[in-house]
């Protein structure tokens, strides 16, 4: 996975509340057996007309946001279905970071596993950064320092889970990390089997 340190971009302002994962990627595109190529279908109902053609009017398809790597979003972003196709689609569009007042739990957890940083800031800060986006001004996200610097130099501090930070900054594979504790997992299974043998009847 790509290492995450600093990212500078004009952010895409998209601050609608309760954007669910059906909006991010409709269910009909879940019939894929790969992780890539979903970006063209991302936010499809917003970006494409009834005739199925890209209208080019959605914020995602307007310059300079077509080059953006930071998305500024609304409250409860990513609610609904657990589909990881949502962060895959967002990553495939080129985004590496999403800033919002709040995120749905499963979505945020899916993001970190795909190298996408989700930053939670208060509503005023998010509004400030969305306005930067609208003004086509660059902002900078610094994960090691846990700061977002707005175009006017205002610095917003955020906190991010240290375990996840280590993963993103180091570009680490979580499974490899857990497998280092394989002996502990085996020991757990032995203990659990002794206490609750009915959970092991099918082994």
């Amino acid at each position: 996975m790509q290492k995450f340190d600093q990212v500078t971009s004009i952010p895409t302002p998209f601050t609608q509340v309760n954007v669910d994962t059906d909006i991010i990627i409709p269910a009909k595109h879940l019939k894929t057996i790969t992780r890539t190529g979903l970006g063209v279908h991302a936010f499809e109902n917003i970006r494409y007309g009834a005739d199925g053609a890209l209208t080019g009017e959605a914020v995602f398809d307007r310059a300079p946001y077509t080059e953006a790597t930071i998305l500024v979003a609304g409250e409860n972003f990513g609610c609904g279905s657990s589909r990881e196709h949502a962060p895959w689609a967002i990553a495939d569009m080129g985004y590496r970071c999403i800033i919002a007042p709040s995120f749905a739990d499963i979505f945020a957890s899916n993001c970190v596993k795909n190298g996408i940083l989700t930053i939670t800031l208060n509503t005023e800060a998010v509004r400030h950064l969305a306005l930067d986006g609208e003004a086509e001004a660059e902002i900078t996200v610094d994960l090691p320092a846990e700061t977002v610097t707005a175009a006017d130099g205002t610095v917003f501090n955020f906190t991010y889970n240290p375990v996840h930070k280590e993963m993103l900054v180091g570009g680490l594979d979580e499974i490899g990390q857990t497998l280092q504790d394989e002996a502990l997992i085996t020991a757990f299974e032995i203990r659990q089997k002794a206490a609750q043998p009915w959970l092991y009847n099918r082994d």
């Binding site: 601050t15 609608q16 509340v17 309760n18 669910d20 059906d22 909006i23 409709p26 269910a27 009909k28 879940l30 019939k31 894929t32 057996i33 790969t34 992780r35 109902n45 009834a50 609304g74 409250e75 409860n76 609610c79 609904g80 279905s81 657990s82 589909r83 990881e84 962060p87 709040s102 749905a104 739990d105 499963i106 957890s109 899916n110 596993k113 795909n114 889970n161 240290p162 375990v163 594979d173 979580e174 499974i175 990390q177 857990t178 497998l179 504790d181 394989e182 502990l184 997992i185 757990f188 299974e189 659990q192 206490a195 609750q196 043998p197 009915w198 959970l199 009847n201 099918r202 082994d203």
Partner: protein, 466 residues
């Protein structure tokens, strides 16, 4: 220290503290289906990793399966490819799979409890957000993404941030004409779709105790619509009676051991809840959603709300676009809103009790002529069989409903069951999102009785006097 049910299950499954509230948590049960698993298997293969514990995994196809003419080739090549990938992946990794033509096949969240896979105190995951359903048995059950599926395949654990505790207490007798679905919608209407974010909800109180296991599943199912990744009910005698004798249930001496353990899964007196909400069940009325978020709930006797009635400007903006999408006008009485399609089914409302509730509303009447299609999709082959034993299928068919084969169906329209643009659906499913039941489709979430009432009248009705 006094603990909640969630604390107890968490502690019993903690393999290692990873720091900052993140734990390596052991997973006892892993359910998979065709849509969210293929990339996880590919990941295993790419990294040359093994499936750690095949016996803890069970597969069933549900999202893509057609609900009629199943023996014919699947009309959608991509769906067929996903279903075939599930077959070949399960065969390659030694996972038990319930076939599409097996009587046990059904929606994964209906199948799990039916087979006794879902038990109190277990950690249970599935690549589907409605995995919260299984919390009805006092399990810690939650939806996961595909990377987590892969992680669970390889390690039988997940790295999880410990969630907070929230208790929703509902007391009092549920009025006539209302069911668990109305309780779920009432809770979401009260706390909002982000009200439970970061929390596990424990449902408590006399109303919850009085609910059947089916009703508790309906309620826990929609925890995710309140933002909570998991919801649960402390197990009781009703829970144990439901599980006893099922395929995966403990037998003989192990049964007594298990019940003894399960009885300890209650929140201790004085256990701390970060958030507490209470509702009076006697005030609940038959509900219907008017917008495009499950929190957009209103009494069927109410009027479509005006955007300016919301305080928050972003909610006002959301209401304006929701009303436009839904084709509704502020002030319009809900019980005059006409319906085009009716769907009774989904992991929220497709169990035998839901089938009985739906059938009881018919009373010899017919589906209204304006209804394009009214479909009843049982949650599993076993539910279908039971309903047919009780003669419910005849009641539905005589009234003009279609009686289908089990699957997720029109809840998310991944199979051929869809609504057209602008068509209004009375649906017993869980999400009224834009385009969820087909591009442009307008979804209203209701209970099975309300859905059937709308099918007969051709518009929403107050089922208490219909």
């Amino acid at each position: 220290m006094a603990k909640t049910v969630f604390d107890k299950i968490w502690d019993a499954h903690l393999v290692k503290e990873l720091g900052d509230g993140v734990g390596l948590v052991y997973i006892d049960r892993h359910l998979i289906h065709e849509v969210t698993s293929p990339q996880a298997f590919d990941g295993l293969r790419a990294a040359d990793r093994q499936l750690r514990r095949p016996s803890a995994v069970i597969a069933v196809p549900d999202h893509n399966v057609p609900t009629k003419d199943r023996e014919k080739p699947n009309p959608d090549a991509n769906s067929a490819a996903q279903l075939a990938a599930l077959d070949s992946n399960c065969a390659a990794f030694g996972i038990e799979k319930i076939d599409m033509f097996d009587i046990r096949q059904g929606i994964v969240h209906v199948m799990g409890p039916e087979q006794g896979i879902t038990q109190p105190g277990v950690t249970l995951v599935c690549g589907d957000s409605h995995t919260s359903t299984h919390g009805a048995f006092g399990a810690l059950a939650f939806g996961i993404g595909t990377s987590e599926i892969e992680h669970c395949f390889a390690t039988q654990t997940l790295q999880l941030k410990k969630l907070k505790n929230m208790r929703v207490t509902v007391n009092g007798r549920l009025p006539f004409g209302c069911s668990a679905k109305d309780v779920a919608l009432a809770i979401i209407g009260k706390i909002g779709t982000a009200g439970g974010t970061g929390h596990v909800i424990e449902y408590a109180g006399s109303t919850i105790e009085d609910l059947s296991m089916e009703g508790r599943m309906t309620l826990c199912n929609m925890s995710i619509e309140a933002g909570a990744r998991a919801g649960l009910v402390a197990p009781d005698a009703k829970t144990f009676a439901y599980i006893k004798g099922r395929t995966w249930a403990p037998k003989g001496m192990q049964w007594d051991m298990a019940v003894n353990y399960w009885q300890s899964l209650k929140s201790d007196d004085g256990a701390f809840f970060d958030k507490e909400v209470t509702l009076d069940a006697t005030e609940i009325v038959p509900l219907v959603t008017w917008g495009t978020s499950p929190e957009d709930v209103i009494a069927v006797t109410g009027d479509v709300p005006a955007p300016e009635s919301f305080k928050d400007p972003s909610k006002q903006a959301a209401a304006v676009s929701a009303l436009e999408y839904m084709g509704l006008t502020a002030g319009e009485p809900m019980d005059r809103v006409k319906v085009d399609r009716v769907f009774v089914g989904s992991c929220t409302n497709s169990r035998i009790e839901d089938m009985r509730e739906a059938a009881a509303m018919i009373k010899g009447r017919k589906v209204n002529v304006r209804i394009i299609e009214a479909i009843i999709v049982p949650g599993s082959g076993l539910v279908k069989h039971q309903a047919e034993e009780e003669g419910l299928d005849k009641i539905f068919i005589d009234a003009g409903f279609e009686w289908r084969d089990p699957g997720c169906s029109m809840c998310l329209a991944m199979n051929p069951d869809k609504a057209g643009a602008g068509e209004r659906v009375a649906s017993t499913s869980n999400r009224n999102f834009v385009g969820r039941q087909g591009p442009g489709a307008r979804t209203h979430l209701v209970s099975p009785a309300m859905a059937v009432g709308a099918a007969i009248a051709g518009h929403f009705v107050d089922v208490r006097n219909y």
